[in-house]
């Protein structure tokens, strides 16, 4: 069958369907009275922060040295103290020799600063990263406990997995913050990351268990027959092979974790979702903001899944 010949009608059909859906969405939105204000969005990524520089004492302006767009202003206090300030040249409000009182504005300094969307994204990313590492450790331990065959260990792991998988993450976050957090005086960030890690850890544990059990028994037997101990065989033989197999489900779990991290906004952690909500209260542009926030999550998760795809192909050399 010549697939190249038969593919283009389907591509066309796909394009038509997508265009129809987009047009439908566009049509529905146009019927309601909503004013799109996309021009307001960029400032929430980066904005030029204006930082007023004020003299910290009573004194005089000793010297102004212009260098390109900024100038360096030397200030001398009555007690002989020296302070240098970097000010944007156009905004200098003083001249050499002028006498100033404490708190007078010397000039302004403008700097590009990340807006709430970027700081929110950063919070989401580092919270997810820390929670992922912890989840991997927790899941590995719990998964290994499940396969050891020791009754106590495997029961403990099973209870943990059952409790976590049987309750909603949102409720777990509330319990972690309002109950456990109050008892142990935990910071909201610690409670949030802890809840996310425990939640994802339960799923990772099941993935790890399935991965280990998918490795043929003969591998463990061969390793043991060579005199390797159980931990050595696990570390050198079973886990590397299992890891390769569980990489796809594991990455799916971490992508879920990034998305689930949006729930920590309910305990007032200013992640990407919370930032979006805060921006909306001041802009009344919910459509634009939520679409942008969704797109930002999508970018992060797509980058991660592409990276895993690359990793999978690199690990496939021994197949």
């Amino acid at each position: 069958m010549n697939t190249a010949e038969k593919l283009w009608p389907w591509k066309l059909l796909l394009a038509v369907i997508l265009i129809v859906m987009a047009a439908g969405a566009w049509g529905s939105v146009s019927r309601i009275d909503y004013e799109w204000r996309w021009y307001r969005i960029p400032q929430y990524f980066f904005y030029k922060a204006e930082d007023p520089l004020k003299i910290p004492f009573d004194g005089t302006v000793e010297k102004i040295t212009p260098t390109n767009s900024t100038s360096s202003v030397m200030l001398l206090s009555e007690t002989g103290e020296n302070v240098e300030m970097t000010v944007d040249t156009e905004t200098i409000k003083v001249s050499e020799g002028e006498e100033l009182f404490e708190g007078d504005t010397v000039g302004y300094h403008h700097e590009w600063s990340p807006g709430p969307l970027m700081t929110g994204l950063w919070t989401t990313m580092w919270i997810s990263a820390v929670a992922s590492v912890l989840a991997l450790v927790i899941g590995l331990v719990a998964g290994l406990m499940k396969v050891t065959g020791n009754y106590t260990a495997s029961s403990l792991a099973a209870i943990y997995v059952e409790i976590i998988r049987g309750t909603p993450l949102l409720v777990q976050i509330f319990i972690a913050y309002f109950f456990i957090g109050t008892v142990f005086n935990l910071d909201r960030i610690v409670a949030g990351i802890g809840a996310l890690a425990l939640f994802a850890g339960a799923y990772v544990a099941e993935i790890v268990r399935a991965g280990i059990q998918s490795i043929p028994r003969g591998q463990m037997e061969a390793a043991r027959s060579l005199g390797m101990s159980m931990p050595q065989a696990m570390l050198d033989i079973i886990l590397p092979q299992a890891f390769k197999r569980i990489l796809p489900p594991l990455s799916g779990q971490f992508i879920s974790l990034i998305k689930d991290s949006s729930l920590v906004s309910v305990i007032a952690i200013t992640d990407l979702t919370k930032s979006g909500r805060e921006i909306i209260t001041s802009t009344f542009a919910p459509f634009e903001i939520w679409l942008v926030v969704a797109a930002m999550y999508l970018v992060v998760t797509s980058v991660l899944s592409q990276f895993v795809f690359y990793l999978e192909r690199r690990l496939a050399i021994s197949d």
Partner: protein, 244 residues
């Protein structure tokens, strides 16, 4: 070298109890080649797996060089390092190259340096005739080549005894010969061997003694001469008639 006394292995599960090995006593002397034959389900594979404790004994004792492996105080890892095992399914480590398959346990268990381990590995790979494949992954090798690597991997530990659990049963017929040749060479060099196999030719040619097992018990023991020319038991006669 190996002494088994009244060994039994009972599998239980779902209300069914199977006496896979039922009161077997046998011995393998130093430099002796003992071949275990018998119909499938006779417990011969289970028995050989008991010898290095891959199956825990349900009863009886097995002594390797005088050490009882059924004793809880025995360090099984130490014993297993002295007992090489070759499996029906090869069980090479698929994520490691041929060379790494041979060096890993040498370094981890025998605590050899990488250099010494590699030297030993190369020598053995040459010996089994696959020196040029050392950087390949097992999946790129034929069944016969994989099994020869598996033999070399076991030999790399300098074992006192080699156990073979149906080493040629999973091979395509044209590859059986190359593996048997390696085993014959080992036997000639004086390796102590216990071999579970269906290769009657090998048993006849290489074995010092043949054990015939059926239904978990040893039915008859003898030299190949005795075994293939004038077997005593009816069960043995029937089996030989079916396979020869």
């Amino acid at each position: 070298m190996i002494k088994a006394e009244n060994v039994s292995k009972i599998f239980t599960g779902r209300g069914v109890t199977v006496r896979a090995v039922d009161g077997v006593s046998a011995a393998v002397e130093k430099a002796e080649v003992v071949v275990v034959i018998g119909p499938s389900g006779s417990g011969k594979s289970t028995f050989i797996r008991c010898v290095n404790s891959l199956e825990k004994l349900s009863g009886g004792h097995i002594y390797i060089d005088g050490v009882d492996i059924a004793n809880k105080k025995t360090n099984l890892n130490k014993i297993r390092a002295e007992v090489g095992m070759v499996f029906q399914q090869f069980n090479l480590f698929p994520h490691k190259t041929v060379l790494d398959n041979l060096t890993l346990a040498q370094m981890r268990v025998r605590k050899r340096s990488r250099k010494a381990a590699v030297e030993k590995a190369r020598m053995l790979l040459d010996k089994v005739g696959i020196g040029e494949k050392e950087s390949e992954y097992p999946s790129r090798l034929s069944g016969g080549q994989q099994q020869r690597v598996a033999i070399a991997r076991a030999l790399a530990m300098d074992p006192k005894v080699m156990l073979f659990d149906e080493p040629t049963s999973a091979l395509d017929p044209e590859m059986v010969g190359e593996v048997l040749d390696v085993m014959k060479q080992l036997a000639r060099e004086g390796m102590t061997m216990m071999v579970v196999t269906h290769e009657m030719g090998f048993a006849r040619e290489v074995a010092d003694r043949v054990l015939f097992m059926d239904q978990g018990k040893i039915v008859e023991v003898g030299t190949p001469e005795h075994f293939f020319k004038s077997p005593r038991e009816d069960r043995t006669k029937l089996f030989l008639k079916q396979v020869l």
